[in-house]
């Protein structure tokens, strides 16, 4: 018994050491830095104040009084809006796609699943760059638009549409796979039962398929939403700096802008948002498990 415990301890020790050193301790330090003072040339000085968090909401006016300034609040709002929109579009697209894959011939299913996964392994920078060429000046998007008689366009780049195309493209495999797993398990007898009870296709979709696919959809929503609100490349390249998001705001604080405590404070807010989503999801999953057991 003692040998087993020693084995288990030393088996897990390297993983704890690595994650402790590169994740757990550093995030604790970020929390500390967010309470510190800004250093004169980047960096920071240890302190204990909430100046950096206050900076998210207020700016110091000329006469040293605090003025409410929504510019960072708008960035947080935009981040959440893009995250939610990306998640919603991924959900809407993945239901029909996953349904068709699940009803494909047996031999085709793994091939189609593989084709959904494959682009996900291509480097993020290359995927975003590809959309930059397609949406850029004289790119494929503009040529297609003009071919179909569209009027003059300035550019497709640097628009919310460009951002959403890039973000949905980046994260959709994370939605299709869990939704497919849920639809695949669907009992065809339930669809026939719905039909026998005079439910048409759309009633069946709404009352049978969607409720039974919900676990897959909600799992996919978490998988898409969490990386989407931390995204950096799409706002930098497809948003062209006009569409600042929390990820890019954090990034600039450690590069050109150089206000480490402020960057750390924004990073803590981003992490808090993610943790809230994960906790809500865990509670929902626990509730669903209880319901299934009852």
């Amino acid at each position: 018994m003692k040998a087993l415990r020693t084995f288990r301890f030393w088996g897990l020790a390297p993983a704890w050491l690595l994650m402790g050193l590169t994740l757990i301790i550093p995030i604790g330090i970020v929390a500390g830095v967010s309470l510190g003072d800004r250093g004169p040339y980047g960096g920071f000085d240890w302190a204990l104040n909430f100046t950096s968090y206050r900076e998210i909401l207020f700016t110091m006016g000329w006469t040293d009084e605090l003025e409410f300034d929504p510019k960072y609040l708008m960035i947080i709002g935009r981040t959440l809006a893009y995250g939610l929109a990306t998640t919603a579009i991924c959900m809407a697209l993945s239901v029909p796609v996953a349904y068709v894959i699940a009803n494909a011939r047996e031999g085709w299913k793994p091939v189609l699943v593989y084709l959904v996964t494959l682009p996900f392994w291509v480097s993020m920078i290359v995927r975003v760059y590809a959309w930059l060429i397609i949406l850029g000046n004289e790119g494929l998007a503009e040529k297609t638009w003009k071919f179909f008689g569209g009027g003059d366009v300035d550019t497709f780049l640097f628009t919310p549409g460009a951002m959403l195309v890039g973000m949905v493209y980046s994260y959709i495999p994370l939605m299709v796979l869990p939704v497919y797993a849920a639809i695949e398990k669907l009992d065809p007898a339930l669809l026939e039962a719905s039909h026998d009870l005079y439910g048409n296709r759309w009633t069946t979709l709404r009352r049978v398929i969607l409720p039974l696919t919900w676990p897959g959809l909600s799992a996919g929503a978490i998988l898409v939403f969490v990386p989407a609100i931390g995204t950096v490349l799409e706002p930098m390249l497809l948003g062209g700096g006009k569409q600042m998001m929390m990820g890019t705001l954090i990034q600039t604080q450690f590069g050109g802008g150089r206000n480490w405590p402020f960057g750390a404070a924004v990073a803590m807010v981003l992490m808090a948002l993610v943790v809230i989503v994960l906790i809500l999801n865990a509670r929902r999953a626990a509730g669903a498990a209880k319901e299934a057991a009852a």
Binding site: T22, V100, I125, A130, N137, L140, P227, V274
Partner: protein
Amino acid sequence: MSDHAHDIRRYPGARALTVVFFLWLYLPIAVVIAFSFNQNRLVSVWTGFSTEWYAAALANAALMDALKVSLTVAVIATTGATAIALMAAMVLSRAPRKGAYRLSEVVVNLPLMLPEIVVAVAVLILFSQLGLANGMLKLTLAHMAFCTPFAFLPIRARLQGMSRDFEEAAQDLYAPPLTAFRRVTLPLIAPGVFAGAMLAFVMSMDDFITSNMLNSGGTTTLPVYIFALIKRGTTPELNAISTLLILASLVIATIALLASARAMRRDL
């Protein structure tokens, strides 16, 4: 064929939408590859077929340096991550799923749950506090951390689906634990270990956010170099470089996915 219209399992338009979806999924990759063979300096104006941009890319010393950094970091990070993930998976697949073991499982998968930009910033601050100057060491440690769950999940899945009979038989025949692991368990889970290592390697090669945050002189990885080129303007040479990276990612990911599919299928 005629009963298709009455088949309740068919939704009009779903098939067409799925076809469009797949075209859209592969359109960007196809565009980059196609324009990498464009003779014209301008990315979007096609004037003729040429492979000159590949020659230019391969003669680019800065690119080769970036590739060398990426490969070095990826190989070391993958080796470390796979070893750590294998050890953790051996314990966690046999331990009760509660208490400290459950927490350990969360810790191993932690990089998947946190936004990468937050982790990148955290590592940057930690290393600056420690005064760690070796850029390659910093990069390798950070990569090892986010690669670990990608190595862990296939190994863990393989161990989960495997019967313990062979290992117990080895132990009954007085094989010391290490011998039983080396001669019996490891060969059986090899496809899972291989798939995990390959996925970890691809994740490390493709990473941008962490590598960019930790970028300093001499540690520019391939994706960070590509980003710098994009900022300077799109060129066909950039397309050639991207195409090579796309092909490398697709080939390695395909091998990994095939290996893990085989690992799941073989009955034990």
